[in-house]
């Protein structure tokens, strides 16, 4: 069975539908990129997969032993209040929250997991620093480390490179690729950077007036891509 299956999924708010008839499957180890215009419902799809809101109709099934709370999530904009006093360590450790159950405190194992992920993201020198005093790229890596604490199977990333400079963007993409290749983590990423989407992902989901789901080679040839790719070139 696939890791994640969406069947006839429709999304929306308060009964107002935004996307209809989504059908796709994601297997373990896939790297899926979700593309589409602003407001087409990409973030909404992600929130629905995470169970933050209910689909207006259709079903989301998880398989291969993936529990719904074992999905790591990097939000598009964290609604973290501007002056929240929290250190890198505290934030990354909070990603282990889904492992503790009713136990009130974090165990040694969980602290080790947090340490390992901080190391993996190259944040060890910043471990005691205050989150709000980090640069945008460093903040993204902190949130990625937190997401990794919550999962070993699947990461959902909502525009992880928005606002980052080209160098840090490439580093971020490479970090994500490593997680996908070396750790076998399934990646679902929303991106407006269609060139990189085509470069790194192996599957593309295009949401818009037309819905496309397939491999990136199929996508480049498809009609929904043609308009979108052209638009991207004109702008950039």
């Amino acid at each position: 069975m696939a890791l994640l299956t969406c069947q006839d999924l429709s999304l929306g708010y308060d009964g107002h539908e935004i996307v209809h008839g989504l059908n796709f499957e994601i297997n373990s180890g896939d790297y899926l990129c979700i593309v589409g215009e602003n407001g087409s419902g990409k973030s909404t799809l992600m929130k629905t997969i995470l169970g933050l809101q209910t689909p207006t109709s259709g079903k989301i099934l998880t398989g291969d032993g993936l529990k719904p709370n074992e999905i790591g999530y990097l939000p598009q904009q964290t609604v973290v209040q501007k002056d929240f006093p929290a250190s890198v360590w505290e934030i990354v450790l909070s990603g282990c929250g889904n492992r503790t159950g009713l136990r009130p405190f974090y165990s040694k194992t969980e602290k080790q997991i947090a340490k390992d992920n901080i190391e993996k993201m190259g944040l060890t020198p910043l471990i005691k620093r205050c989150y709000r005093e980090l640069s945008g790229g460093q903040q993204q890596r902190v949130l990625l480390a937190r997401a990794l604490c919550a999962t070993q199977k699947m990461l959902l990333l909502d525009e992880p490179v928005s606002g980052l400079d080209p160098k840090v963007t490439t580093e971020m993409y490479e970090l994500i690729e490593q997680l996908n290749n070396n750790d076998g983590i399934t990646v679902i990423m929303i991106s407006h950077d269609i060139e990189s989407a085509v470069k790194y992902a192996d599957r593309i989901l295009h949401i818009g007036s037309e819905i496309f789901f397939g491999t990136k080679d199929e996508y480049v040839k498809s009609t929904s891509a043609r308009a979108f790719l052209k638009g991207g070139e004109e702008n950039g």
Binding site: K47, L50, G51, L52, P68, N69, E70, I71, G72, Y73, P75, T78, V79, V80, Q81, D83, F84, P85, A86, S87, W89, E90, I91, S94, G95, G97, N98, T100, P104, F105, Y106, K128, R129, C130, R132, E133, R146, A150
Partner: protein
């Protein structure tokens, strides 16, 4: 100076003075713990609204003629906390407007009730002490002291047990929910604990000054420390120290307890403000 200490040690020989100190410290400790969460989650307006509800409840209790009004006030305040949280989350009703309506309404009705039915000869004194705290918490009865002590211990225990969950829910509620934390439940818990703290703190500083007890320690600690744990510990220590000083000063100088404590809090806040801007913050 020696005279002051003599006066103090004389006072401290009375058990009710010692009780007052113990209760004051416990209440200060409790009210500081959730301060950071309250400030950051924009829940402080709920705290404010609830304190007015507690005032209304107090008036009702007085009118009905209860000897021990605490259980009734506690029940009404907890229920209101839950209701306010519900409306606050409902996007269709403006949460803050609802809170404002309820809190002003409770204030008005409370005063009206007291005016109409009170048998007390000193009405404005009664109202004043409910709003700004009794002129001295030395008048607390033994039962009240016990209730305060037990509730404080419960609040502290709940806070320590759920410390990590409260952090997650405060820092990033959607991430917490996505990874299976029942954020709604913890929001409810936070609201109920706030209600309990407010009812407790009413005895100490009166219903108008409660917010000060909740907010000043958190804001002061946030000037100097930059991680959640340090801020929490610092605001607890800050709050307890200010309460202790405030109570002692008010005993010696005969000033009203509540406003004296809040005045000490304000002084403390400015000291921390200066420390914060001098040091540029400590990372520990």
């Amino acid at each position: 100076m020696a005279e002051l200490f003599e006066k103090l040690s004389l006072y401290l020989q009375y058990p009710f003075v010692r009780y007052a100190l113990i209760v004051g410290v416990l209440i200060a400790l409790c009210s500081s713990l959730l301060g950071v969460t309250l400030v950051l989650k924009r829940f402080s307006f709920i705290g404010d609204g609830l304190s007015h509800v507690a005032f209304g409840a107090m008036a009702i209790a007085a009118v009905v003629g209860l000897t021990n009004e605490m259980p009734l006030v506690l029940a009404i305040t907890v229920v209101s906390a839950v209701l306010l949280l519900r409306t606050g989350q409902n996007a269709k009703i403006k949460g803050d407007a609802a809170v404002a309506m309820i809190s002003v309404g409770a204030l008005a009705i409370g005063y009206l009730l007291m005016n109409l039915f009170s048998k007390s000869s000193n009405l404005s004194g009664d109202v004043c002490s409910t709003l700004f705290g009794s002129t001295s918490i030395l008048t607390l009865t033994r039962t009240e002291v016990w209730i305060c002590a037990v509730l404080s211990v419960v609040v502290v225990a709940v806070f320590i047990l759920f410390y990590n969950k409260i952090f997650s829910v405060t820092f990033d509620e959607s991430f917490a929910r996505a990874t299976g934390t029942r954020a709604g439940l913890y929001n409810l818990l936070i609201a109920v604990v706030i209600a309990v703290i407010i009812v407790l703190a009413m005895n100490l500083v009166g219903s108008l000054l409660i917010s000060a007890l909740v907010i000043f320690p958190a804001l002061s600690a946030m000037r100097v420390f930059k991680n959640f744990k340090a801020v929490t510990i610092c605001s607890a220590v800050f709050s307890v120290a200010c309460a202790l000083f405030g109570i002692l000063i008010s005993i010696l100088a005969g000033t009203p307890v509540g406003s004296t404590i809040v005045a000490v809090d304000i002084v403390g806040f400015f000291i921390f403000l200066v420390i914060g801007s001098v040091k540029g913050g400590i990372n520990g």
